[in-house]
């Protein structure tokens, strides 16, 4: 025996302790700064581009996105120099069994429509008036748009009177013959139709008022009908609107070639296309920022500019189709809306195509507010839409 068993055991234990330490704690992943100068050739090149100073071409154009406004929280009626908003309403007429059998003998003594206000735009002291026409073709509040409005048929005859505009309500009388027609439509669907009414502002109207819509509960538009059965006493019944929508037509104000408008209701937005050149295909885009400057004096209402707008990534060069994943929120800082576009610019860089972003309100179907934005034609380059990029690449 060369080595005592005890000593041999100690040596073995020591050896396996060393191996265990090596396996489990052997490597220290410490990152230091020593020697970084020797790796200058390996360091990433960091390049920043700014459309204000670098060669990034851009153009912008105002574009109208046709949207149905059926999901808006207000139906807006009114008119000003640029816009006109019509309202379509349809009431659910529910007859009792006895009324169905004796519908011809029912007399409609009066019918008043009540609209509860929740929105106002434009000159609060302006004229507000409208005519009510009976709609004679079918419509769907979720699909009808300014484009399809021309296909809607309605009578030339007006059925409203006794308009009262109060602080919280707007009421008007509806021709009882029209209501009787709707009663008959509940019984005889072949010869009578109830497609509701369309409210069209008169030419001299110069303001907009918005009203609660279907889904708002008790504040939805109602029609109060006083009816009388043959030989019976007058009876008052209220019917609620089950279908309502407003349709905005017209044009945005023209503020000159340097400014474009994001117009709610009309659902107008601004397409901005940047064409940064000379970004190598092997570059990794690390930072991307898009910002736009608004004219706060021309925007309406100037006192309550939205906190943010959206820049949606366009999927097509001619149509307004978005890739919803790449929607950028531009948050307001003073008169500048700015947002992180790094995901968008990476997609653009990856796809090698960039159809631009579409600047739109955060809720374009709501209200009629407008944001006046300096566009790519702004003479002062500091006011133009701005793209800032930082990319890295291997030298």
């Amino acid at each position: 025996m060369i080595l005592s068993e005890k000593l041999k055991l100690h040596i073995k234990k020591l050896f396996f302790v060393i191996i265990s330490i090596l396996v489990f704690f052997g490597c220290e992943d410490k990152i230091t700064q020593v020697g970084e100068d020797l790796l200058n050739d390996d360091k990433l090149e960091i390049i920043s581009l700014d459309s204000r100073v670098d060669n990034i071409n851009q153009y912008s154009m105002q574009m109208n996105q046709v949207l149905a406004l059926g999901n808006a929280s207000s139906v807006i009626l009114g008119k000003d120099t640029y816009l006109e908003s019509k309202v379509l309403l349809n009431f659910a007429i529910n007859l009792t069994t006895s009324e169905v059998t004796a519908v011809d003998s029912i007399r409609i003594l009066s019918a008043y429509v009540t609209l509860v206000r929740n929105y106002s735009f434009g000159d609060s002291n302006g004229v507000f008036n409208f005519n009510t026409h009976s709609i004679t073709s079918d419509w769907n509040p979720l699909t009808i748009t300014s484009d399809s409005l021309s296909k809607l048929n309605y009578s030339s005859q007006t059925f409203s009177s006794d308009l009262r505009v109060e602080d919280s309500l707007v009421t008007f009388a509806l021709d009882t013959s029209l209501v009787k027609h709707w009663f008959r439509a509940e019984v005889d669907t072949a010869n009578y139709k109830n497609y509701g009414v369309i409210l069209i502002p008169t030419v001299n109207t110069n303001r907009f008022i918005g009203f609660y819509t279907y889904g708002s509960g008790s504040t939805v538009a109602k029609i109060e009908v006083v009816k009388q059965k043959l030989g019976g006493n007058p009876d008052t019944v209220t019917y609620s609107a089950y279908s309502d929508v407003h349709i905005v037509t017209g044009n945005t104000p023209n503020y000159g070639s340097e400014k474009s408008v994001i117009q709610n209701g009309l659902t107008t937005g601004i397409k901005v296309v940047f064409t940064p050149e000379n970004i190598p295909s092997d570059a990794a885009l690390n930072i991307g920022t898009i910002s736009v400057t608004v004219d706060t004096l021309l925007s309406e209402p100037a006192s309550s500019l939205p906190d943010y707008i959206f820049a949606n990534f366009l999927k097509d060069s001619s149509d307004i189709k978005f890739d919803d994943i790449y929607s950028i929120r531009l948050t307001r800082e003073g008169n500048v809306y700015k947002g992180n576009a790094v995901a968008v610019v990476n997609k653009w860089h990856r796809d090698k195509t960039f159809y631009g972003v579409y600047l739109t309100s955060s809720s374009p179907i709501e209200g009629l507010s407008r944001l006046v934005v300096y566009n790519s034609n702004a003479v002062d380059s500091l006011l133009r839409p701005r793209l800032q990029l930082t990319y890295s690449r291997k030298k």
Binding site: V23, S48, N286, R350
Partner: protein, 414 residues
């Protein structure tokens, strides 16, 4: 005993994903990385080389002819702890790393004819560095970190065969299979989640075969009358190097999206490695060796391109080993003590300055029995300089290993 050891070794290696001892040196960025030579604890304790040493108690991977004296099936395993101090002109750091160094197994097939077979795995080169630079960019008004790292290396799986001619000339030949991944990472990291960090990865997957040849002369001390040395031998070994294939892929990652920028099949052209060795013994107890190694890294080509940051390697090594009585019975008789020294012109020539390395070493092999030893080595290595934007590096390398011998295939004569 040996079989149990192999099982434990296999488990440990599996757990560690065969983690070779790291070097944590920016110099390893250049060429194919930090070059490793013997990977044996014995050699580490006596100057890192020793191509003419043909002792039966250890497996040499430097010279295929050196295994001709094996008389038992022998398994060797070694690992390393490195304590590193690095300094450049603006900062310094110290860190420790560790990992496995090598594994080898050798079999005597015909002891009379010096026919032995060995195979093993050890690192040929190691790439291991990671540095960072924190930057505040005034243009974008943001802070970011540039991180550069490299890891991997080329491993060498060898199969050596030796043969001894009747007059004592030992010949050896080997087949080397080189393989490994060398990855270079360049990262740009932002502190916030709004901006996308990016990673550029250059991945080299290398593989290929090469050959080793070696020769060790017979003892020529007897040719000289009254010569004070004994067992005087000369050795030459050559690793042919050659062309390795390199599957190169260059990718960029931004956020979670990975794109391939470039990929192709390229080559690594390893230069020939030549080692000239001399060994002799004095008074039967002392064994000396002198070695010179040359490898023309100026001829190295990576995908057809030479590297201006490389130079030819010239390494001289000297070592001495003392064992009181090889045939003794006591622990003291069989314990082997070692001292060594080496000076190397490393393959790195950075900023037109040659990076030279000086190493002092000591070691000991403690016998567990006549056939089995536990080996330790301690090296102090210094290289580089602070001037010329270079790095001064001091290493203390602690090596440990085990060398086990057992009869496996040859019936013991009784």
């Amino acid at each position: 005993m040996m079989k149990k050891f192999l099982i434990v070794l296999f488990v440990l290696i599996s757990i560690s994903e065969y983690n070779f001892a790291q070097v944590k040196s920016v110099y390893s960025k250049f060429g194919i990385g930090n070059l490793e030579y013997s990977n044996s604890v014995r050699k580490a304790g006596m100057g890192d080389l020793g191509s003419a040493l043909d002792d039966y108690e250890f497996i040499s991977s430097l010279n295929p002819a050196a295994i001709s004296e094996l008389n038992l099936t022998r398994v060797e395993f070694s690992g390393k702890f490195n304590s590193i101090y690095q300094k450049d002109y603006k900062s310094s750091t110290s860190l420790t790393t560790g990992g496995f160094s090598s594994f080898g197994i050798g079999f005597p097939i015909s002891r009379d004819n010096g026919i032995s077979l060995s195979f093993g795995l050890n690192p040929y080169s190691i790439v291991d560095y990671s540095v960072k630079e924190e930057v505040f960019d005034e243009v974008i008004n943001k802070k970011y970190t540039k991180e550069l790292s490299g890891d991997g290396g080329i491993s060498r799986l060898y199969l050596n065969l030796s043969y001894k001619l009747p007059f004592g000339l030992r010949l050896g030949a080997g087949l080397d299979y080189f393989f490994g991944n060398i990855d270079y990472n360049s990262k740009l990291l932002f502190d916030n989640n709004d901006d996308f960090s990016s990673t550029f990865l250059q991945k080299n997957k290398v593989k290929g075969t090469s050959f080793s040849f070696g020769v060790i002369s017979p003892n020529i001390s007897s040719l000289i009358d009254n010569f004070f040395v004994d067992d005087l031998k000369f050795a030459v070994s050559i690793q042919t190097g050659g062309e390795l294939t390199n599957s190169f892929m260059f990718t960029k990652q931004v956020a979670s999206s990975i794109d391939t920028i470039n990929s192709f099949e390229g080559t690594f052209n390893l230069p020939i490695r030549l080692i000239y060795g001399l060994s002799f013994s004095v008074n039967k107890s002392f064994v000396f060796h002198f070695d010179y190694l040359n490898q023309a890294w100026t001829k190295f080509k990576h995908n057809g391109l030479t590297d201006n940051n490389l130079q030819d390697v010239n390494k001289i090594s000297f070592g001495v080993e003392y064992q009181k009585d090889k045939l003794g019975q006591s622990f003291n008789d069989l314990t082997i003590w070692r001292l060594g020294f080496s000076y190397e012109q490393t393959p790195f020539k950075i900023n037109n300055k040659s990076i030279n390395e000086l190493s002092f070493a000591a070691g000991v092999s403690l016998p567990l029995s006549r056939e089995n030893t536990v080996d330790f080595s301690l090296q102090y290595v210094t290289r580089g300089e602070v001037e010329n934007s270079l790095i001064k590096e001091n290493f203390i390398k602690f090596g440990f290993g085990i060398s086990l011998g057992e009869l496996w295939f040859i019936q013991q004569e009784r």
